[in-house]
């Protein structure tokens, strides 16, 4: 091989690229073979926000962002996990807690936590108590934020079934600066009629205007769930009106043959409703996006 006029042979550059390729190949092989759990522990090597605050040396907001991203990825990763393992979003609260401790004004983190910590599995962690903790922390830093009071109120209403508490929180929300004027009427409605779908619809509709897409999606789903509840009531009436021989299992075919329905009814997410063969109760399929449905009185 003739020596080039300047420097080492150009093949050296090619060899360098080959080495880099080898490195990447090894990286891919390693990532495929090692379960992600090895890294999960590492995410929270430092659990204490105070320690982390010191370690991060003034880059608090940036670190808060990192933990926020990790929180979303953790939620997403668990959500999309098809391995069949029961995932409980264990790290969601600590990650959000750290993010909001490092940056107490991190609004999105509080609101994300409000929704996805309180929501029942598989949509969320099913820990409304942790959600309330997080929001209380937010209120402690920014007492005037009506959204945090509103979120606590909603959790009390929707998950904890404590309409008195919900009403109280709605009232306090209404007293914050810049609070929208529909909060007071909702508080009042809480007190007079208890858990009812009209109020719930109302609150979800407000949330449709939110600037975060996932908030809007959640609101959309909430509305669909309430529509589903209404539809279930109607369907159960229809089923009850069809003559039924005892001992026979209930089925949609029976209803359709009786001419009361034209086809198997679909819930607002286009998934067929399920009718219990023994009791004739109608419910949403557990494959449906609306599952699990909230329980409310009319």
């Amino acid at each position: 091989m003739t020596q080039p006029a300047r420097g080492v042979h150009p093949l050296v550059a090619v060899a360098a690229a080959a080495f880099l390729g080898l490195a990447i190949l090894l990286q891919v092989v390693r990532d495929r073979s090692v379960p992600a759990d090895v890294f999960v522990q590492r995410l929270l090597y430092v659990r204490s926000p105070q320690v982390l605050d010191r370690v991060v040396l003034g880059f608090d907001a940036l670190a808060a962002d990192v933990y926020w991203i990790r929180a979303i990825q953790h939620y997403g990763g668990d959500r999309l996990d098809v391995s069949g393992r029961v995932r409980k979003y264990q790290l969601l609260y600590p990650l959000l807690d750290i993010a909001t401790s490092l940056d107490p004004y991190f609004n999105i983190a509080y609101r994300f936590g409000a929704i996805f910590l309180s929501e029942a599995y598989p949509g969320g962690a099913g820990r409304p108590d942790l959600a309330v903790n997080l929001l209380r922390k937010g209120i402690a830093t920014q007492p005037g934020k009506w959204e945090y009071y509103h979120d606590i109120a909603f959790i009390n209403y929707w998950q904890l079934r404590d309409t008195q508490a919900a009403a109280e929180w709605f009232r306090r929300a209404a007293q914050q600066p810049n609070a929208p004027n529909w909060l007071m009427p909702v508080a009042a409605a809480m007190l007079t009629e208890g858990a009812d779908r009209t109020s719930a619809r109302f609150i979800w509709r407000q949330m449709l205007d939110a600037d975060q897409e996932w908030l809007r999606n959640r609101a959309q789903r909430g509305l669909q769930q309430i529509d589903g509840l209404d539809q279930i009531d109607q369907l159960e009436q229809i089923v009850a009106s069809v003559p039924h021989r005892s001992g026979e299992p209930y089925s949609w075919l029976e209803v359709i043959r009786a001419g009361r329905l034209r086809g198997i009814p679909l819930d607002p997410s286009r998934t067929p409703y399920v009718i219990d063969p023994q009791t004739g109760r109608v419910s949403v399929s557990d494959q449906s996006a609306l599952f699990p449905m909230p329980e409310t009185k009319k």
Binding site: Q3, A5, R6, G7
Partner: protein, 325 residues
């Protein structure tokens, strides 16, 4: 016999200017051949391209065009480095090493056995005049002492061809005399010495052949005797006991008068003047003659003339280069 160093149309451009559009030609198509056993002087003013040439020969920089070989092998050949030595201009080495350690390091790179290393290093350091200081770290060395160490490291491997870039720089007169003697010794041993300098007196004393470069171009090359024509251009007359009156009478005939001490003068007479008649007149006034010497054209005159010629030529050439682009 094949040349020790063969330089063929070697050129080096540097890209200057923000957009790198105007190349600066540091060396313009140099062609030179140096035969084995020669002491070759590579002369020129500062910035003429001498160091550029040496760096091209050591492959510290790469040529824009042209080639060069050393001992028949292309520059940069690793095996040839075993047989050559190089002293950079104003050398600097590793401050934290002692002189002995530096030479040991280089000797290790040559692959000498430990015993061989010790012997060579001791001999060389003696030869260049470094005594006890060889155990001190180089950071404590004066410029002259670093230069001596530099010469030592250039000779470590008994090289056949030695390249010296301004070997006299930083040395006092005693040191310079030592280096001159050393170079002559190397010549007597049959080695080839290629050294660059802007001090013409050294070249005159040492070289068999010289080349003169200026502004990156070769202005002249050849045997020293051939280059400086032995034309007598005048006389230098040194007289003593010259009275002031006699001096004034003879002054119009002189081209230059220098007072050496009271009554003692050096008079320069051009060829046109009748030197012997003036001499007789002065003696008649009572002055005594100290010496009468012919003035020949020196290397310096030749040098200045050729460098200026290149200067004239380079202006037109640069215009031509620009026009071509």
């Amino acid at each position: 016999m094949s040349p020790a160093i063969d330089i063929d149309n070697l050129a080096k451009d540097y890209a200057v200017g923000f957009w790198r559009r105007r190349p600066y030609r540091a060396l313009d198509r140099l062609t030179l051949t140096i035969e084995p056993g020669e002491v070759f002087g590579f002369l020129g003013p500062n910035g003429a391209g001498k160091t550029t040439t040496l760096k091209l020969l050591m492959q510290l920089i790469y040529p824009t065009s042209g080639r060069a070989t050393i001992l028949g092998r292309p520059v940069g050949d690793l095996a040839v480095r075993q047989r050559i030595g190089y002293l950079p201009e104003n050398p600097s080495f590793y401050e934290y090493l002692t002189a002995e350690e530096l030479l040991t390091y280089f000797a290790q790179l040559f692959g000498f056995s430990p015993a061989d290393r010790r012997k060579r290093i001791a001999t060389l350091l003696d030869r260049v005049g470094i005594g006890r200081e060889r155990r001190f770290q180089l950071r404590r060395f004066s410029k002259g002492m670093v230069q001596r160490v530099g010469i030592a490291q250039a000779l470590l491997n008994d090289p056949e061809v030695i390249f010296l870039d301004e070997p006299m720089s930083g040395l006092d007169p005693l040191g310079r005399r030592d280096v001159r003697a050393l170079i002559l010794e190397l010549r007597d041993q049959g080695r080839t010495v290629f050294f660059s300098s802007h001090i013409l007196a050294d070249a005159e004393a040492l070289c068999s052949r010289v080349a003169v470069v200026a502004a990156g171009r070769l202005a002249a090359q050849g045997r020293l005797a051939d280059l400086t024509e032995f034309t007598v251009r005048g006389w230098e007359l040194v007289v003593a006991n010259l009275s002031a009156a006699a001096l004034e009478r003879v002054r119009p005939a002189t081209s230059r008068v220098i007072e050496i001490s009271p009554g003692r003068y050096s008079l320069e007479l051009s060829l046109a003047q009748p030197a012997d008649r003036i001499l007789a007149e002065l003696v008649a006034t009572g002055a005594s003659v100290v010496s009468l010497n012919p003035l020949r054209e020196t290397l310096e005159d030749f040098f200045v003339q050729r460098v200026n010629a290149v200067g004239q030529g380079s202006r037109t050439e640069h215009e031509a280069v620009d026009a071509r682009r």
